[in-house]
């Protein structure tokens, strides 16, 4: 994608003013840039590649699962595929997805700054990310690993015959890129807000990325150290997770989920931020309950640190601990529900239009709702005992991570595409893409809820014949979903090359980033942006009267 953007022949003649894309065309100018907008694009290209790698693994798994007996691969290969799918999608797509691309591009612009506070560390974070990616690719070339993305001990330390240490090293290295990104956003939001832009005038996207950054900075080091201990145990044969040596394998799960549950909020909080921007714009209304929304973000981030034990209800942890974790998991539902209610209330009496970003964002709200409600089933101890090792869990977290985060990521990409590239995409193709993804997604994952309730265990290579119909349905949905994901790749690439020129503010949106040119100049604003009296200063009545 970047090569098409930097290709000078693609720029039309009317291009007169310099912008961040025309500021230098050489590959070197991209690889040494400290411009947050270019770093965002470097990330975008990298994670897009990883997205399709992880997607390819999922495709092969869905093909295999068409049949209850072995079809195209061995059980070992299947284990390696779901591990590769999980590791790549979680650490190399979802975690950096919205923060490192849209966050990097937009945070400085939304607060009226020229760049992030620490631009060189920003660039370094991309190189560290790429280095971590190299480890993972090396792992794949060496044959992949078969532990699942959770690297549970003692399998990962004692029994697995695959290159666990190399894969773990990739995740470890990538963690530092997360920390650098999070650190940068925290400092940027604290220090570089334009004069007069107080905390409660910030767009909710900034709040969401800020809360995400705090989780990134505080949770990621825990994972890093846990993985070091894991690798040492595997290499030296001694460690605190080995029960035969007096250690405790459950301790690994505690440490792992202390990071990995907050990581779910790393993935979903930015998605909530995007939805707030897009829904207000296409409902032409200020967000309902702005302060409640901001506090809900903070509450989700805070409580997110205290619920990790709900991944371990059936792992043998103390029942009393489980009771507390179960209660706290229900508590997280409150701020999450507040967000859904407030988006709905924002739509109420709005002047709603259904442009592609809005379709993606509404898809996000609906799928997040289903993912969240099924999460309540799993938060209850009795239900979880039956469901936690079934496809119900797989469906639940895919509704949050794919239905939630990936839909919102696409909503954001479409919403800010004109700002990022200076070009429009085909609206009808984009709407078609949104609908195909929504339909394909539900067809893939809704049957998995039923499979889970009927008792099909997750991560199994073969299954009982009575599950075949729903599995075939799920695989059929996956093929639609795959087509849905290829569509944006095609029409967005076409748009980057040949799309119509975008105006500065094609959606009539109110954020500061829309006050500058599309694509923005190198230092973001030619003239300092006007700071509005309140965020989301939309007026639906005026819009109606103007006959929009």
């Amino acid at each position: 994608m970047s090569s098409s953007i930097i290709d000078p022949s693609a720029a039309p003649v009317l291009e007169t003013e310099s912008n961040y894309l025309t500021h230098g065309y050489s590959l070197w100018s991209w690889l040494t840039t400290t411009d947050h907008k270019r770093i965002a694009l470097l990330y975008a290209v990298t994670i897009t590649a990883f997205f399709f790698m992880g997607g390819a693994a999922a495709t092969l798994m869905r093909i295999e699962l068409i049949s209850p007996t072995p079809l195209i691969m061995s059980a070992e290969t299947y284990n390696k595929l779901f591990t590769a799918h999980g590791v790549i999608m979680v650490w190399f797509f979802l975690i950096p997805s919205i923060p490192a691309t849209l966050g990097n591009f937009l945070i400085p612009m939304m607060i009226g700054a020229k760049d992030v506070a620490l631009p060189r560390i920003n660039l370094l974070s991309w190189y560290v990310f790429a280095l971590g990616g190299c480890f993972v690719i090396a792992t794949l070339i060496a044959g992949g690993i078969d532990t699942g993305w959770t690297f549970y001990t003692p399998y990962s330390t004692r029994f697995s015959q695959t290159t666990v240490v190399c894969g773990v090293a990739g995740v470890f290295v990538t963690g530092f890129s997360s920390i650098m990104t999070g650190l940068n956003f925290i400092v940027t939001v604290h220090r570089l807000r334009a004069p007069g832009l107080t905390w409660f005038k910030l767009p909710l996207f900034v709040w969401a990325i800020y809360a995400t950054s705090i989780i990134l900075v505080l949770a990621t080091p825990v994972l890093a150290m846990t993985l070091v201990l894991l690798a040492m145990q595997r290499v030296f044969g001694i460690g605190i997770f080995d029960a035969t040596l007096g250690g405790d394998p459950l301790l690994f799960q505690h440490m792992f989920w202390f990071y990995s549950h907050p990581a779910v909020y790393i993935m979903v909080l930015p998605a909530m931020g995007v939805a707030s921007e897009v829904i207000t714009c296409f409902a032409r209304k200020p967000v309902f309950g702005y302060r409640t929304m901001a506090y809900a973000i903070a509450a989700i981030a805070a409580f997110g640190f205290m619920v990790w034990g709900h991944h371990m209800f059936v792992a043998g942890q103390s029942l009393y601990a489980s009771l507390v974790f179960s209660f706290l998991s229900y508590v997280v539902a409150i701020p999450s529900a507040i967000k859904v209610f407030n988006w709905t209330a924002t739509l109420y009496k709005g002047s709603i239009t259904f442009e592609a970003p809005m379709l993606y964002a509404l898809g996000f709200v609906g799928l997040f709702l289903i993912g969240g409600l099924t999460g309540l089933y799993l938060a209850s101890l009795g239900m979880d005992a039956d469901l936690s090792r079934t496809y119900f869990v797989v469906a639940h977290f895919h509704y949050i991570m794919v239905g939630g985060s990936v839909m919102a990521y696409f909503a954001g990409i479409h919403f800010w595409w004109p700002k990022i590239t200076g070009r429009m995409y085909s609206e009808s193709w984009a709407r078609l893409g949104a609908i195909v993804i929504f339909v394909g997604f539900n067809l893939t994952f809704f049957p998995q809820f039923i499979l889970g309730i009927e008792g099909m265990p997750r991560r199994y290579f073969e299954y009982a014949p009575q599950f075949q119909f729903l599995n075939v349905l799920s695989s059929a949905g996956a093929s639609i979903l795959a087509a849905g994901y290829v569509l944006p790749l095609v029409y967005l690439t076409w748009s980057a090359l040949h799309g119509a020129r975008a105006t500065d503010n094609p959606w009539g949106a109110k954020g500061l980033e829309w006050q500058t040119r599309s694509p923005p100049p190198v230092e973001n604003f030619d003239v300092p942006p006007r700071i509005p009296q309140r965020p989301y200063d939309y007026d639906p009545d005026a819009e109606e009267k103007a006959g929009r």
């Binding site: 506070a117 920390i179 925290i186 505080l218 080091p221 150290m225 001694i238 007096g246």
Partner: protein, 209 residues
């Protein structure tokens, strides 16, 4: 951009670094925090073994290292303060003293590791203990090496940073008008020091009631 505006921008950037460093330190606390958490759980499951194993650490060398590192913390703080009030030469000497004290800490630590290896206290390979508590003692020394090792790595990075500060102050790059870098180095050095304050009692003093 006028000179004063440029100075103002630079000051603003310096403070960015300060906020950034505090965030980084928070992240470091979580990094070490996990090790302390693992230590706590393991010590709760093997209280006797941890007490016995701890008796085999060299408390004299550990205590000497405390003196070295805490003194270096004082000299580092004074170096930063000295630069701020314009005492560049004193600051230079104090920085040099900090570097030497930190280096001595590392030298003592290396000697201690050498002794540990001689006494077969390294948990992988031939291990000194064989009794019923050997499993817990192994875990103690595993954590001992991981925790002091992680600390030593931070100390080595700190020595590198102080060396850069030394050269900067000597060449007049860092002066009373531009002393933030030295102050941030001092902040980082305080982390190295603080971690050791917690490591010393939990590794060397377990067996002493």
């Amino acid at each position: 951009m006028s000179a004063s505006a440029e100075a103002a921008t630079r000051r603003a950037n310096d403070s960015d670094s300060e906020v950034g460093l505090w965030v980084f330190l928070a992240s470091e606390v979580m990094f070490f925090g996990l090790l302390f958490y693992g230590y706590t759980i393991m010590r709760l499951s093997h209280p006797q073994a941890f007490a016995q194993a701890s008796a085999h650490t060299d408390v004299l060398l550990g205590s000497i290292n405390c003196c070295l590192l805490f003194t270096s913390s004082l000299t580092m703080a004074l170096a930063a303060r000295g630069l701020r009030i314009g005492a560049c030469r004193a600051s230079l000497r104090l920085l040099a003293a900090t570097w030497v004290l930190g280096f001595l800490f590392l030298a003592v630590k290396c000697y201690e590791y050498h002794e540990d290896i001689d006494h077969h206290l390294v948990p992988w390979g031939r291990f000194a203990f064989h009794g019923s508590l050997a499993a817990g003692e192994r875990l103690f020394f595993f954590l001992y090496f991981v925790m002091t090792g992680a600390h030593a790595m931070h100390l080595i990075v700190g020595l590198g940073i102080i060396a850069v500060m030394l050269v900067g102050v000597a060449r007049g790059k860092y002066t009373e008008d531009n002393c933030e870098a030295v102050e941030l180095a001092a902040l980082y050095w305080a982390l190295v020091d603080t971690v050791w304050i917690f490591l010393y009692p939990i590794l060397y003093l377990v067996h002493r009631p």
